[in-house]
């Protein structure tokens, strides 16, 4: 490694669009965005359904969802590892240490956040809309898309929070991905490894990119919320 200020080298890596750096950032985005997309596709209607329908065990489902929001990434990683390891029930699929395994683990992490938020937001909205929608002839099932659409701005904020969580976690992707160079190495695992190996410039460069990304996500969430309040009431 070249001597000199690690900050300066880090900036140079970013400005020169270092291929190793770009590869890692690209894989990070690909894994986390896919996980968030799947979690949103499943979690939004799931949360809305829990909000609208009464069924035995509903209280437990709600409490469980809320508890799972705090699921530690390493535990999520461990669960998926056990599932996908050679001896595990899905071992024959050969997914362990692939980006797919990382997507599964992150989906597991993000799904409860999105579903719990969707449940809360849709339940509040249903309280406000119920009589009007029933008067107009809407069934509960038909109300789900209506309510999700009307809650879209709150929900986007939650989905972005889910993306923040996915892209910033280390534990799950490390366990199921293995941090294999060029295959499953993402920003967070690379930062952990390069720091411990003493390659501070790359770690710093990745840290800066990650920080910018997370700030961008939060700023977007904030702006969407403000915009919605002003334009749609």
């Amino acid at each position: 490694m070249a001597a000199g200020n690690p900050f300066a080298i880090a900036l140079e890596l970013i400005l020169e669009r270092d291929p190793v750096l770009l590869g890692i950032v690209g894989l990070s985005l690909q894994v986390s965005l896919t996980a968030v997309a799947i979690a949103a596709l499943l979690g939004l209607p799931l949360g809305a359904a829990i909000a609208l329908f009464r069924f035995p065990g509903r209280g437990i489902a709600v409490a469980g969802l809320n508890a799972l929001m705090g699921l530690p990434p390493v535990v999520a990683g461990l669960m998926v590892y056990l599932l996908l390891s050679r001896a595990g029930p899905l071992g024959s699929w050969g997914l362990l240490f692939t980006p797919t395994a990382m997507v599964i683990a992150q989906t597991l992490l993000v799904l409860p956040i999105i579903a719990a938020l969707s449940r809360q937001v849709v339940e509040d909205l249903w309280e406000e809309y119920r009589e009007q929608l029933q008067s107009l002839g809407s069934s509960r099932l038909r109300a789900i898309p209506t309510l999700l659409w009307d809650a879209r701005f709150s929900l986007v904020t939650g989905v972005l929070a889910g993306f923040g969580r996915a892209s910033a976690e280390v534990g799950a992707v490390l366990i199921v991905g293995g941090n294999i160079d060029g295959v499953t190495r993402v920003m967070t695992t690379a930062i952990a490894l390069e720091t411990s190996r003493g390659d501070l410039p790359l770690a710093l460069a990745l840290g800066i990119v990650l920080l910018l990304l997370v700030m961008l996500v939060n700023a977007t969430a904030y702006l969407i919320g403000e915009q919605a309040k002003r334009r749609l009431g």
Binding site: E128, Y129, E131, Q132, L133, Q134, S135, L136, G137, S138, S139, R142, T146, W149, D150, R152, R231, L232, G233
Partner: protein, 246 residues
Amino acid sequence: MNDLSRPDALLPLRVSALGFRHRGQSLLDGVEFTLGPVGRTILLGPNGAGKSLLMRLCHGLLTPTSGRIDWSLGGASVAFLRRRQAMVFQRPVLLRRGALANVRHALSLQGVGRAEGKRRAEDALERFGLSPLARRPARVLSGGEQQRLALARAWALRPEILFLDEPTSALDPAATKSVEDAVLDFHRAGTRVVMSTHDLGQARRLADDVLFLCGGRLLEQTPATTFFEQPQSPEAAAFLRGDLVW
């Protein structure tokens, strides 16, 4: 709209021995009346008399704990019956989308096809002077415009009966006037109107007959002129003098 010769007409509506209890408390008790196929019925009574409750029961939003609500066509499901009615609430709930889209959404809930729905929604906005606001987000409209949009939405559904629950209580005089005009439009188009209000002037302007509720009981069903000149019950007389607390 109402056509008396229709074999499957919704009206008359017969309400018999209707009661509604909540947590052991009787909120409506022994309510009996019949609504014929034409006219404007105004529901009057002090605050908490059960006016809103009665309309929500008739509209099928609540289930009575005793008694019956019989529409002329028997045996139909609540959902089916409700499709032929509409209700305008004190504070309309509008969706977070454009004015036109709100009306189209209501039509699509009732299974009206896209092209037909668009045409009917545009007609309804036009009739209530809302065409220039068609793309405006419904939630940023003024209170009066929102209520007109709720009326336009009800209009597009072509209900046989329209319930209005104190539709003008939050509105200024100009907006109130436009709601009263709309009620007349519905009436002329043959829609049965049932409306509650706490504005006696408005009741006099609009009523063909009056249902007077007090403390969860129906004390009068009287033609409007009789009600305002010679109320049959002492409670109604006190109410008209302004001696009953709202």
